[in-house]
Symmetry: C2
Subunit: 307 residues, 2 copies
């Protein structure tokens, strides 16, 4: 079933211990869409500037992603520069230029309205809510947010969280949003704000999904998928968005939402995140095969499987 991703497309300058790259195609919606494209049909709504060429767009269309929803505005595309020289687990931002992204107003093409799955990337919660309300045939909505919105737009975020079925954020964001230093307690408080499930991304250590009591009718025990230890992390940028793409893309490919499907989705999320970091930018995500993905899924499974 089709999934619609709404979020950022960007050009990134990245420095890591493995090297430096400039003007690399990135952005949350880009990583998400590429990762999800290995599982299901993907549609994207984003905004780009004059510097976004047909060549850039073909990175997405080659993977079968419907790019009708990419709005072209006058000016430059969102640009971000960051480095991971001291710590591969946390980006140090060098600069952020919002450019055309600053006035982004998502416009949903008519042909996207039948998308049964929706992913609200990390944008202003009020825009997230507007998209969700317009997509009224959607069965399942995933969402992301960040510390900036948690601190500066708590009321707007609270409204949006009532419309999100599965929130995907990291450990620090969970503790901040739940105002609790205990992860399980913070998770419970976040779930009380609306989502039926919360996926907490642990970076190189995988992710844990927490369920609201009675959510999806599948019990409330948490589940954790580990991440594979990666030989060479070249560039951590986009790992979390690729995780979300693998997770949501797999869910959309399955239709039914059982506990086992959600568990497998969490593993597929980790798989796509682990591929993403092996090369700079989206390079690795552009040229995968489903066989490679499933082989790594098996490695992941065996990594923690007790008889």
């Amino acid at each position: 079933m089709s999934i619609l991703a709404v979020g950022s497309v960007a050009f990134d300058n990245i420095a890591t211990p493995s090297g430096r790259r400039e003007n690399v195609l990135g952005g949350a919606a880009t990583y998400f869409s590429l990762a999800a494209s290995y599982f299901t049909d993907v549609r994207i709504v984003a905004v780009v500037g004059d510097d976004f060429t047909g060549e850039h767009e073909s990175v997405l269309t080659k993977r079968g992603i419907n790019t009708r929803g990419i709005q072209h505005a006058n000016g430059k595309t969102f640009r971000w520069g960051g480095q991971y020289l001291d710590n591969l687990n946390e980006a140090k931002t060098d600069f952020t230029e919002l450019n055309v992204f600053e006035k982004f107003q998502p416009q949903i093409p008519e042909e996207y309205l039948d998308s049964l799955y929706l992913f609200l990337g990390n944008i202003h919660p009020t825009l997230q809510a507007a998209v969700r309300l317009e997509m009224n045939r959607t069965r399942l909505t995933g969402g992301d947010t960040m510390n900036y919105w948690i601190q500066n737009t708590p009321k707007e975020l609270a409204e949006t969280l009532k419309l999100v079925n599965i929130l995907l954020i990291n450990d620090a964001e969970t503790k901040m949003l739940g105002s609790d230093r205990s992860l399980p307690r913070a998770a419970r408080k976040v779930l009380a704000l609306g989502p039926q499930a919360l996926v907490v991304k642990h970076g190189e250590y995988g992710a844990t999904i927490f369920f609201r009591e009675g959510a999806f009718g599948i019990g409330s025990h948490p589940f954790r998928a580990p991440a594979l230890p990666i030989e060479e992390v070249q560039d951590p940028t986009g790992a979390g968005d690729s995780f979300a793409g693998g997770f949501m893309g797999y869910l959309a490919s399955q239709g039914e939402l059982s506990r086992e499907v959600l568990k497998r989705a969490l593993f597929y999320g980790g798989v796509m995140g682990s591929f993403a970091v092996e090369r700079f930018g989206t390079e690795r995500l552009q040229n995968l095969s489903r066989d490679e993905i499933d082989a790594r899924f098996q490695l992941f499974r065996e990594l923690t499987h007790l008889e």
Copy 2:
């Protein structure tokens, strides 16, 4: 089968977001022995001062631990003070008073010489090696070390590592000892120094075991055990030593060393670490039952189990 633990007994002053405690019985060998005591017979070699009373010793003997090897010296027991007020994952040391531990020369009682399992706690690598060589009937030796020895006694440590079958250290120590920022590569370099297996402890995210090619005849794929998200971490002190105690204690209880046994041992390590942090000091480790331990083992197993 019996296991001998050699290492520190200490009194700790601890401050965490949950409170403060002074003169709490601690030390690596104490946590290790208590955790291992739920699986097998434990013998301990350590040194204490005049301030170590019969009441302190009874914490160990009540768990059936043989304390004949605790040497009593004139002076004060090793004392450590630390806090986790800003970060539950890393202790900030307030003070370290080695006291009688500074001149610790492990003396192995005759009756301990038939111990088939040995754990060399974090002491000077030359002392570790001497103990290992004296324990010449031992079948399997586990060992710990830390950044101080990696940086200051690299040659002595290299000699000791040739005598250790399974090294248990954390992520940062692995990367330092292997001189590599990639965990899998660092692990391979550490294994090239001698140990057949390396257990890397990830704190709240569990642990991964890496194998040298052909080690134990069980294949060389790594295996990871997750840790359970803990509702309330009262005191992280001793979590790693309790992990080692659960891991080595379970191995000693099994005798044979199959891949499945090592995997289960890694889960039991995580189980004991997770209990340790629920209360200050060794409080939680003093009053467990094997039923509670096995129930948590099942929770851990289900936490990552895919059909």
